[in-house]
């Protein structure tokens, strides 16, 4: 009896201690939070490095605050905002442009205005979207990645991949990959000769041209590492519509990869940032975005990510194309048409 009583007592003691510990653990972060301003930024897992090493130090020093970065995927960030609509904890989201559109439609974002974010005025045209609902903080660009060991001269035109001498050597991203969309627009541009903005609307012409590329196709990839593997081993000669960031990072490690900016112009990959509506620390959040698109951060950020800055005054990093047209993408048209395009891609491009 005594023994069992002791056990009961012990159990109670343990329970009490556990409850106490839990209270302390739960309460502690609030106390800590109260001491300094904290800003939670949601973005992609791949953004973590540059947010924490390039952007956060500048903002933290200037506004004596703490930046907490939560890295996941764009769609997960969207879900986080949807689920916490009444009590947002993310102040800023960095998401792909196509995912910004449903966030705008559902009223989850707060408009960026020049009063809150003065540096908006310094952004390149085409980088502020839907009347200021979000803006681009970077332009990772799309060009043609090639293997310099097998391609003695760099490709100069998007038309090069259609040359019959490259039979079975061209790698395309699947249309389900965002970087794959550019190929459709370029194909239409090459087929119709219309200006890019108009050609991008003529999807039918794009598909008809893309189909003629089939004999030259090695594969259409969904997994990017595989595409680079094929390119670096020389099985593939070119990846049409490759992301500068990825290609130049591979080049930096000594892999036989380079990227060319064709004369017809290049495209930019999505890289949006927006304010969350009803979020904590709205002024600090606006200041964060203002710093992010300011000259100082833009200069460092574009070099660190092998991308183009969106701030007009920031210098273009060495090795990046200059004087090339950057074609904007109409993400609203993409959001509306993509499911049908992918469907047609499956049918038209099938082996």
């Amino acid at each position: 009896m005594i023994k069992s009583k002791a056990i009961v007592l012990n159990r109670r003691a343990v329970l009490a201690a556990a409850a106490g510990a839990a209270t302390v653990a739960l309460a502690a972060p609030r106390i800590v939070r109260a001491q300094s301003k904290e800003l939670v930024v949601g973005g992609a897992a791949s953004h973590k490095n540059f947010v924490e090493t390039v952007i956060a130090p500048v903002v933290e020093k200037k506004y004596s605050c703490k930046i907490v970065f939560e890295g996941t995927r764009s769609l997960v960030n969207l879900e986080k905002m949807q689920k916490n609509k009444d009590k947002q904890y993310l102040s800023i989201v960095m998401m792909d442009d196509p995912v910004m559109i449903p966030a705008v439609t559902e009223g989850l974002l707060e408009k960026l205005t020049p009063a809150k974010v003065p540096n908006l005025a310094t952004l390149k045209p085409g980088t502020v979207h839907m009347d200021g609902m979000w803006c681009n903080y970077l332009q990772p660009w799309l060009g043609i990645a090639y293997n310099p060991k097998v391609m003695k001269t760099a490709p100069t035109s998007w038309a090069e991949i259609y040359d019959p001498k490259h039979k079975g050597r061209i790698i395309l991203p699947s249309l389900q990959n965002t970087e794959g969309l550019a190929n459709l627009f370029i194909a239409s541009f090459l087929a119709t000769g219309k200006p890019m903005a108009e050609a991008a609307k003529d999807i039918d012409a794009g598909f008809k041209k893309l189909v003629t590329l089939k004999p030259n196709l090695l594969t259409a990839y969904t997994q990017m590492p595989q595409a680079y593997n094929l390119l670096e081993q020389g099985e593939g000669f070119m990846i049409s519509s490759a992301i500068s960031q990825v290609a130049l990072e591979r080049k930096g490690t000594g892999a036989p990869v380079d990227i060319a900016a064709p004369k017809e112009g290049i495209f930019s990959m999505p890289s949006g940032v927006a304010l969350v509506k009803g979020a904590p620390q709205p002024e600090l959040a606006a200041a964060f975005i203002n710093e992010m698109i300011g000259t100082e951060v833009q200069t460092k950020l574009s070099a660190a990510t092998f991308s183009l800055p969106t701030n007009k005054d920031a210098p273009v990093p060495a090795g990046m194309p200059t004087g090339v047209t950057i074609h904007p993408t109409d993400w609203q048209a993409v959001a509306a048409g993509r499911a049908d395009w992918v469907k047609r891609w499956d049918r038209d491009m099938a082996m």
Binding site: L218, T219, A220, T222, E235, R347, M349, M351
Partner: protein, 282 residues
């Protein structure tokens, strides 16, 4: 044909041993599957078969079903042709040899499908081993690429699924008394007759399990085709994956998943039935 006095199978306490497995399977597999089924039949206004009608009325989707079944069939055939004799060699080998063979069959299972698929990518290249070999022995005039072809996919997938054909057949062959065949010989049966009338019927249960394993795994494989044949060759499982992961179209995804499941299950059930018919009681 229960003997009188023998306990009914439902009263036999041994049945209780299956409780953990039944619980586990129901929770992690049964309920989600039921949910998937319901999802595929639910429309905006209530129960509907519209998604199935829409799917079946598109000729492209029949091509996808065709791709899925053709690849599944070829992988199973290749695994059977290579695996059946290998299972005999394994069962009849001496103790040390048997251990070596078992290890070499089982050990590769610990390497993920992604790693193997990447390795096959190198083997199947234009300048890869297979191409060089075929040019070397004069079958091909010039190096060709097997990567991103159906043949390449079948080769790669068969390699990955082969142990699942060998092991069930091996476990049955191991139990066959070698003297049965000898007895047939003393009675004047030819080797072919002995094989078709004695050995093959006795191994059928193993063959059926092997086929069921390999076929159902090869019609549902997702990573291997996406690496070995790419986006231009859709199967039911790659279509399902894309519907859920990219297009966020849960209805299409559940519809294709249910079709795949029904096809795979019915072929496995049919082959079991056929084997019972052919081999008597198995």
């Amino acid at each position: 044909m229960t003997k009188s006095g023998a306990p009914s199978p439902w009263r036999d306490p041994v049945v209780l041993l299956a409780v953990p497995a039944v619980l586990y399977i129901s929770i992690v597999y049964g309920f989600p599957l039921l949910w998937l089924l319901l999802k595929s039949f639910s429309g905006p206004t209530g129960p509907t078969v519209q998604p199935y009608i829409a799917f079946m009325s598109d000729p492209f989707n029949w091509r996808v079903i065709g791709n899925t079944l053709r690849i599944g069939l070829w992988v199973t055939v290749v695994c059977f042709i290579i695996g059946y004799p290998a299972a005999f060699a394994l069962a009849r080998a001496g103790a040390v040899m048997q251990i070596i063979m078992l290890v070499s069959i089982i050990l590769p299972l610990s390497i993920g499908a992604v790693v193997k698929a990447f390795a096959w990518q190198i083997v199947l290249r234009r300048d890869g081993v297979v191409s060089q070999l075929l040019v070397g022995v004069g079958i091909w005039d010039e190096p060709q690429r097997l990567l991103f072809t159906e043949a390449g996919l079948v080769l790669g997938a068969a390699n990955i699924f082969l142990p699942f054909m060998i092991l069930p057949i091996y476990s049955v062959v191991k139990l066959i008394d070698p003297r049965l065949s000898e007895a047939g010989a003393t009675l004047g049966a030819t080797p072919l007759y002995r094989f078709t009338r004695v050995t093959l019927p006795l191994t059928l249960p193993g063959v059926v399990s092997g086929i069921a394993f390999v076929f159902s795994m090869s019609v549902s494989m997702f990573v291997i085709p996406s690496l070995l044949i790419g986006d231009r060759f859709q199967t039911l499982s790659t279509l399902t994956g894309r519907s859920f992961l990219l297009m966020r179209n849960e209805q299409l995804g559940s519809t294709t998943a249910v079709i795949l499941l029904v096809l795979a299950v019915s072929i496995v059930v049919f082959s079991t039935w056929l084997a019972r018919r052919l081999g008597g009681s198995t």
